[in-house]
């Protein structure tokens, strides 16, 4: 069986063994068994405890091997030191999936980590999958079964939720019962020794009971696998993620929590973007979106109709729509006629539709149903404020009915108020209409649903461009650097690599004597630039290690000696390989192209405004390699530099095609050579359309051994 088939067994088991079942109330082994029984699981339940006997009316087996029938899933709740032999027993019994709730593995240090490795080996050996260890368990509301020690079972719904934090789940579960949010699957990821977020995303993707995927993660196990899984699933259903550890201090806390260095937050952001995943900034946002999605279909577009009984909230909502990328719908003339006829003359019949403070449930019915029927409207937000004549509960009931008539269009209610809104909210919840207390949250959630449809549609099956390059030459250069026991390439080496990948570079040659420097300058043509060639000297200009605009052989000779002298004075310990002689490139628009290898996601390409203002302007954007041409175009368009390159205020446009090609070639280079861990072209001069670019300063660092 492959992994996904095994997860399917985990989701829909016919029999479950609870290893470590206990009759003592308050013990996890008791909670898990009770939850399982109370959840209405229709399959067989086998409590296992070496003491035997009977627990909660079920016969207890002493070990898994004693069970006569098949066991699909085993939930393990025994002390860590007993887990390995029990897993082995399960393997021999032919158990398909294990839920290891037991803690005391990777999170406690080296010994735990070793034990966890053995767990994974056993899983491989016996063709099982393992959820956890150190997790809360798993709940499937449609099987139904609850194999967790949660203090309740969520109501049935269409949201699949996986969380790296078990404690967070218990809080959400309890809250969801109050908010009437239903779940299809509730998975605690634990230490992710075997099954990780990517496995579950893929499984949720093909699970018919789930239409919406929510994730709370602190890190991903395998960045590439995660992206692949998301790309597969996003066309079918939306994935919303809260990824913590955004702030520096948060990242630090996360790294000591998980014991592994998470990739940079930028990399996560880019990975989510490139694989169509929506990132929510907070748990509140995540569940606002879930709240709407649980009940509603996706909007067909971004045009919103607003129905209100007060002006102020209507304007607030309009503003929020604008800033979240939603459009205020232009109603059809027919709709406007209907509204004019049905509403008092003082009412506003253009969107936002203000039915006035006197609006009765029938007025709301007219407005809402007209809006829902209007072909220019993709979704409707209904605002109700408690005024003297307002019948809040009646209005709520009307909305429930209207939604039933037009189930295809999202309808979101905002009932602003406190005590007077308690009962109407219950009515709306029961009627599957998402309700919020303030408009901004409602608009945010609606906008996220719309954005998902955009992400989904923009995920194209585009091929990665391949250029003809001289791969062998690059391999030889890198080999030479390795032999020399260096990680930082000399300018001449880095430029040669760029050249081998067809990038237009300023030519660089290494000179080891002043005569050689003069010869090389004659060959390259004046003017030239001289730079100290030493991997130990990073900031060359600080120590007088660069001389530019050298016009004559005499100047070159002079500069050569001066640069060496400066290096000797300021950095006597640096190992000097000579002086680079470089042709002067004609000045163009300065851009920067860089690449840094992220721990989780691999090579991340950067593009932006270059030159000395890089750090000040911070006009940069990122994408993960390998990239498609659309990726590159978006990367460039993300920056202000991208606009500048198109030509502003009568300036001729720059050679954007050449920049795109350069970035794609870099993307190919860092994908072909995993040993390139850092690469920077700064500055890279972009010339007028048709005239190409010139990579002036290429820096490359290699890693690995």
């Amino acid at each position: 069986m492959d992994r996904q088939e095994l997860i399917d067994v985990l989701f829909n088991p016919r029999s479950i063994a609870v290893i470590g079942a206990s009759e003592t109330k308050g013990k996890l082994g008791n909670d898990v068994l009770r939850n399982l029984i109370e959840s209405g699981f229709q399959g067989r339940i086998y409590p296992i405890n070496p003491k035997g006997g009977e627990i909660l009316g079920l016969k207890v087996y002493r070990k898994v091997g004693d069970i006569a029938g098949d066991v699909d899933v085993a939930v393990i709740v025994i002390p860590a030191r007993f887990v390995l032999p029990v897993v082995e027993e399960c393997g021999e019994k032919g158990v398909k999936a294990l839920v290891i709730i037991t803690a005391g593995f990777k999170e406690i240090g080296h010994e735990g980590q070793e034990a966890e490795k053995k767990l994974v080996e056993l899983a491989k050996k016996y063709d099982m999958v393992i959820q956890g260890p150190n997790c809360l368990g798993i709940i499937n509301t449609s099987a139904p079964y609850n194999a967790s020690f949660s203090a309740g079972t969520p109501s049935k719904g269409t949201i699949a939720f996986a969380s790296q934090s078990g404690a967070l789940m218990t809080g959400i579960l309890d809250w969801s019962l109050m908010e009437k949010i239903g779940f299809s699957k509730f998975v605690s990821l634990g230490n992710k020794a075997d099954l990780d977020e990517a496995d579950f995303i893929e499984a949720f993707g093909s699970d018919p009971d789930s239409t919406f995927i929510l994730l709370y993660i602190e890190s991903v196990v395998d960045g590439r696998k995660f992206m692949e899984a998301c790309k597969k699933v996003v066309p079918k259903k939306p994935i919303f993620v809260v990824k913590s550890g955004v702030s520096e201090a948060g990242a630090r806390a996360a790294s000591s929590h998980t014991g592994s260095l998470a990739g940079s937050d930028t990399a996560y952001d880019v990975a989510f973007k490139q694989s169509g995943v929506s990132r929510a900034e907070s748990m509140a946002n995540l569940f606002d979106v879930a709240n709407v999605f649980d009940d509603m279909h996706l909007p067909a577009g971004n045009r919103v109709a607003i129905v209100t009984n007060a002006g102020g909230p209507g304007i607030l909502t309009t503003d929020a729509c604008e800033s979240n990328g939603l459009e205020i719908a232009k109603l059809t003339p027919q709709s406007i006629e209907v509204l004019k006829e049905g509403l008092p003359p003082a009412a506003a019949v253009y969107n936002p539709i203000d039915a006035l403070g006197t609006a009765q449930p029938e007025d709301y019915e007219l407005c809402v149903e007209t809006a829902l029927a209007d072909e220019n409207v993709d979704s409707v937000i209904v605002l109700v404020t408690p005024q003297a004549m307002t019948d809040e509960t009646g209005t709520a009931q009307i909305l429930v009915e209207s939604h039933k008539k037009f189930p295809g269009k999202p309808l979101v209610a905002v009932f602003m108020g406190g005590n007077s809104m308690v009962y109407p909210r219950i009515v709306l919840n029961e009627g599957d209409i998402p309700v919020f207390d303030f408009p901004e949250r409602a608009v945010y959630a609606l906008a996220e649903l719309y954005k998902y449809t955009v992400h989904r549609d923009s995920l194209k099956d585009e091929t990665i461009p391949k250029f003809r390059v001289k791969k062998k030459e690059v391999a030889e250069i890198i080999e030479k650097v390795r032999e020399d026991n260096r990680t930082v390439l000399l300018g001449s080496e880095a430029h040669a690599i760029a050249e081998a990948y067809g990038i237009q570079v300023a030519k660089i040659r290494l000179a080891t004597s002043s005569e050689e420097a003069v010869d090389l300058a004659n060959e390259l043509g004046y003017p030239v630039v001289l730079k100290i060639a030493s991997p130990d000297i990073v900031h060359k200009s600080d120590i007088g290690g660069i001389r530019i605009g050298l016009e004559t052989p005499e100047e070159v000779e002079q500069a050569f000696l001066e640069i060496l002298e400066n290096a000797q004075t300021h950095r006597p310990k640096a190992i000097v390989y000579g002086v680079d002689v470089q042709e002067m490139a004609e000045k163009g628009k300065e851009v920067i192209i860089g690449c840094s290898r992220d721990i989780q996601f691999g090579p991340m390409i950067m593009f932006g405004a270059g030159g000395i203002f890089v750090n000040y302007l911070k006009d940069i954007s990122f994408r993960l390699a390998p990239m498609t041409r659309t990726d590159v175009q978006e990367l460039i368009d993300d920056t202000k530099m991208g606009t500048l390159l198109k030509g502003v205020r009568g300036e001729p446009p720059s050679d954007i095609k050449a920049i795109e090609d350069t970035i794609l070639r870099i993307s190919q280079l860092v994908t072909d050579f995993e040993e390139i861990v850092e690469l920077d072209i700064n500055p890279c001069f972009a010339y007028e359309k048709g005239k190409g670019i010139s990579a002036v300063d290429v820096k490359i660092t290699i890693g690995g051994s």
């Binding site: 980590q113 592994s260 026991n485 000097v576 890693g703």
Partner: protein, 355 residues
């Protein structure tokens, strides 16, 4: 007949490195190699109350598996107790001591490697400079000359003058600490220059961090630290470069990637820096301020086999201390010896000496 080769030069560790390199080559060729250091300096680590010992002698005794006493491999130890410590003994007595030990050591050997004093002119005051001993033993001389830039050609000539004046005829020059940019110059010009001036060219040793890199044990000793994990690697792991980690981990990565075989100095409570460092080519974590790592850092280090040491010094002081560390070859450090044998062996070409 035993062939005597005197290795001389005004260097700190170069001569012993050359001796190790040559000895390895000869032993592979099946030759019996002896080692003799007539005059050494006192090593407090290896000396006992009764016997003063020279560290190089201890190392070579262990590497070459010599049976003789350390006190015979290096019979005369300069203690610097007074200016006339050797004058009082006198030339004849000292020479006698040297010759007695030499005879003992050289029996049954094909080649004797004789290491000179720190500078070749030392002990001129009793007529026992390296040049004078070389003449006495009718030895070939390998003269190690530091060559940081081309002005050192005069140093080469000075050495020649000195040895010729005491009657040494066969001089081989080996250049030391040569910056890589001079590779071409040496090959095309300096070699020729040496040969035109009546000497042999024996090779060049280029600036190489590995040769002078301290081991974890040496760093631990210098920092008066405590090892937390990785005791097994204390001698086998060497450190080429030191870096201080203090920035956010994703920025630190960029820097950490620039250096190989490095030690990262950071405070014990920066588990993010420790983890970032371990993602790159890091050989050692030095945790300062007396703050130990958290359990997950230790667990990752164990997994990767990276030693962690902890010191009570602050980060700045730690940096200063390690910056001045120059590694020596110690008998415990087998890996380092193998490395020296390889690098020096490759750098030397002494075929004219039959090596």
């Amino acid at each position: 007949m035993v062939k005597n080769i005197v290795i001389t030069g005004d260097t700190i560790t170069g001569k012993t490195l050359i001796a190790l390199g040559i000895a390895a080559k000869l032993r592979t060729a099946g030759k019996e190699v002896g080692y003799f250091k007539p005059v050494g300096t006192k090593s407090f680590d290896h000396s006992t109350i009764d016997h003063d010992a020279d560290e190089d002698a201890v190392v070579m005794k262990s590497v070459l598996e010599l049976k003789s006493e350390v006190s015979c491999i290096c019979p005369i130890i300069r203690t610097k107790s007074s200016y006339d410590e050797f004058l009082r003994a006198g030339h004849d007595k000292l020479l006698d001591q040297i010759m007695t030990c030499y005879t003992k050591l050289s029996s049954g050997k094909d080649i004797m490697l004789i290491e000179g004093t720190k500078a070749p002119w030392h002990l001129l005051h009793v007529g026992l400079s390296t040049a004078q001993i070389a003449t006495k033993l009718e030895a070939s001389v390998i003269c190690l000359v530091n060559f940081p830039d081309i002005t050192a050609i005069d140093d080469i000539l000075l050495q020649r003058e000195f040895f010729k004046s005491y009657g040494v005829e066969e001089i081989t020059v080996v250049l030391n600490l040569v910056p890589p940019m001079l590779k071409g110059t040496i090959h095309n010009h300096i070699r020729e220059f040496i040969e035109e001036n009546g000497m042999h060219y024996g090779g060049a040793i280029y600036q190489n961090r590995e040769l002078f890199s301290p081991s974890v044990r040496e760093i631990l000793r210098a920092l008066d630290g405590q090892i937390i994990t990785g005791e097994d690697h204390i001698d086998s792991v060497i450190v080429d470069q030191f870096m201080v980690g203090s920035m956010a981990p994703e920025n630190a990565l960029k820097w950490f990637r620039r250096a190989k075989h490095k030690a990262v100095i950071t405070s014990g409570d920066r588990s993010d820096i420790c983890l970032a460092a371990m993602e790159t080519d890091t050989n050692l974590l030095i945790l300062t301020g007396g703050m130990g790592p958290d359990i997950r850092t230790v667990s990752r280090a164990k997994e990767l086999g990276i030693p962690i040491i902890m010191t009570a010094h602050d980060t700045y002081t730690t940096g200063q201390i390690v910056d001045n560390l120059v590694a020596t070859v110690t008998p415990e450090n087998k890996e380092k010896i193998a490395l020296v044998e390889r690098i020096i062996g490759e750098a030397l070409n002494l075929s004219h000496l039959g090596i």
